[in-house]
């Protein structure tokens, strides 16, 4: 279900993205970041706003995976390949996740507990993991 977003949501999405490594959101140098934030929000197949990407969560976040949904342009990998790799590391629907640690620069990368394992990944790839 794709839905139109309001200007207000776009701005708040942009503000949230400022928490992160903003460079990760720039597809090509010089392109305004806010556009990407908007297009990412629009791409999301979320029915309810309470699902949020793990890539935006803070340290200490605990939750469950709702879906793996790779928005366009978040990683240099093709969407299907990134999805496959995330699943292979244990990121599947229903798995328990917790952000244990984050790096010092741009709070990136993050160390995530996935059920019984701990996986390190960058926030840009973690944007594909929708959590609740």
């Amino acid at each position: 279900m794709h839905r139109k977003i309001t200007a207000h949501e776009a701005v708040s999405s942009y503000n949230r993205s400022k928490l992160l490594n903003t460079r990760a959101f720039r597809l090509t140098p010089g392109q305004p970041r806010v556009h990407i934030a908007v297009s990412m929000t629009r791409h999301r197949a979320t029915d309810s706003p309470q699902y949020s990407p793990l890539g935006q969560a803070h340290r200490g976040f605990r939750g469950r995976i709702h879906a793996i949904d790779v928005p366009a342009g978040i990683s240099d990998l093709p969407a299907a390949e990134l999805e496959g790799r995330l699943i292979e590391l244990g990121f599947t629907e229903g798995a328990y996740v917790e952000i244990l640690h984050e790096g010092v620069f741009g709070r990136d990368p993050i160390a995530v507990r996935v059920n019984d394992a701990t996986v390190a990944l960058r926030r840009r790839e973690a944007m594909a993991i929708l959590v609740i």
Binding site: E83, G90, G103, D108, A120, R122
Partner: protein, 626 residues
Amino acid sequence: MAANAEASERRFALIGTPNSGKTALFNALTGSRQKVANYPGVTVERKSGVLQTPSGRVVKLIDLPGTYSLRARSPDEEITRDVVLGRLVNEAVPDLLVFVADATNLRVALRLLIELRRLGRPLLLVLNMIDIARRRGIDIDIDRLSAELGVTVVTAAAVRRGGTDDLLRRLDALAAAAGERTPDVAWKAPSASELRAAQREADRIIQIALRPAAEPDTLTTRLDAVLLHPVAGLVILLAVLFIMFQAVFTWAQPAMNLISSGFDGLGDLVHDAIPAGLLQSFFQDGVINGVGSVIVFLPQILILFLFILLLEDLGYMARAAFLMDRIMGGAGLHGRAFIPLLSSFACAIPGIMATRVIDNPRDRLTTIIVAPLMTCSARIPVYTLIISAFIPDQKVWGLNLQGLVMFGLYAAGIASALGVSFLAKFLFWYDDPTPPFMLELPDYKLPRPQSVLIGLYTRAKIFLQRAGTTIFGMMVLIWFLASFPRPPVEATEPAIEYSLAAMIGHALVPVLAPLGFSWQINIALIPGMAAREVAVAALGTVYSIEGGKEAAEQIGHALASKWSLATALSVLVWYIFAPQCASTLAVIKRETGSWRWMAVTFSYMLALAYLASLVTYNIATVLGAG
């Protein structure tokens, strides 16, 4: 007869996810009866060993690179896939896949096992580290697990004495049974939904056959709270690296002196045993000194690998990569490139060998081509000689000027390595996707001495084999250049001045004169190709100084009277960049498996050296140092 023995030989392959303790199990099962080589055409290590079962049956065990999937995203994983599917030419499909899983972390492993099960090949699941799992209160119903998976399950604790007895008995029985060897060609990479289904199935089986620990490994959690702390973690990492760096330089010194004097003694022995002449020179200068100048680095290489193996077994290496990822990423390098680059301060050879920890081929290649820019210890004799001869021993802003210049040379090396890797990203891989950083952080484990020793032994063997072949060849070539043709009987100058090396030195004058290099310097550059520090001895020879290496001080005096400051600075800068060491180039050729990357490294370093020296010499001359 031979064909018969070949056919009846059992071949078992160890497969599993990374960090499942596969290598520890391999070491425990085969001991030192191992062979490490490369798979043909790729630089993926092919480890195999011989295992003897309780009833005396001999089984060939192959240790496959760890993988999360048969979809194969790196050369390592392609090898695993091709061996499992029997796709390698000259390599029969294994009779049995021994699937090694960490009993404390089964979720992802069972998904991979379910994927493998579909191949219909004989499978055995080994629950490794069962001792740790039990201690943590993880309760696994082995019979239930086996029934649900439809696979025989056996427990093991590779690092415990007697921890593999059960497994050996089971392998014995399986080795006795006849195996079928049909390569699987029908295999197709699973889609995302198939992967999901396999994981769901694995989760279901875990639900019924396993009672989880009450909480995750508390030791790992507590250690990580400090070691992965954004600030404390980095400080500790730097401290670890500092200790490692210190150890490589100080601990190795006595052993290096011993090797060095051993080779000198051997040289003297040859000197006395063989009448003066060509043969004496060949054995003393070409063979013994040449190979000795490389083998002298063996203690440094072993200490470095001791640290790498300990940190790797401990589970710290993945953490170091986590901490360094963003810092290295800025220069287009992978977090894991940090250790190899650091190792290159000792010597680029172990550094380049250590790039094997980087799984992505592109990242590994970038690291390999910039590693020689890090200031290796062989540059130190050259730097020390020139600095002490030309840079006044005085204080600038309270700091020793000579020390500052030395620091500057190191800093220039680091800056250029980062710059080149940044450029390489645009030149070679501008259209390649940036590989993601995704890495499992394993629980901390105490390294097992036997495993570490086997690892060290293997590294030493690889290094010595190389010293005995490629490097030896290079040394002989360089000796040849410096010795032929022979000086005339009435020669008054040092013999090297009549040699091919001298001819090349003179021929290079028009090219290198703009850098302020005299023909004597050009000559010294040629034996310096063997190993940089040899240039010091060569300069001694060219300037007719008795005593060679020992007379460094005298050489310094001679240089101070013959070179201008601009020339000295130009030579220093040349040594930051110049591809001066033939053995490094040989290792690059071996590790990348191609002449092309060796040529790329050689050319870009030469170009950098030339430009940097040209600029330095001319600026220095303009400033009045000519």
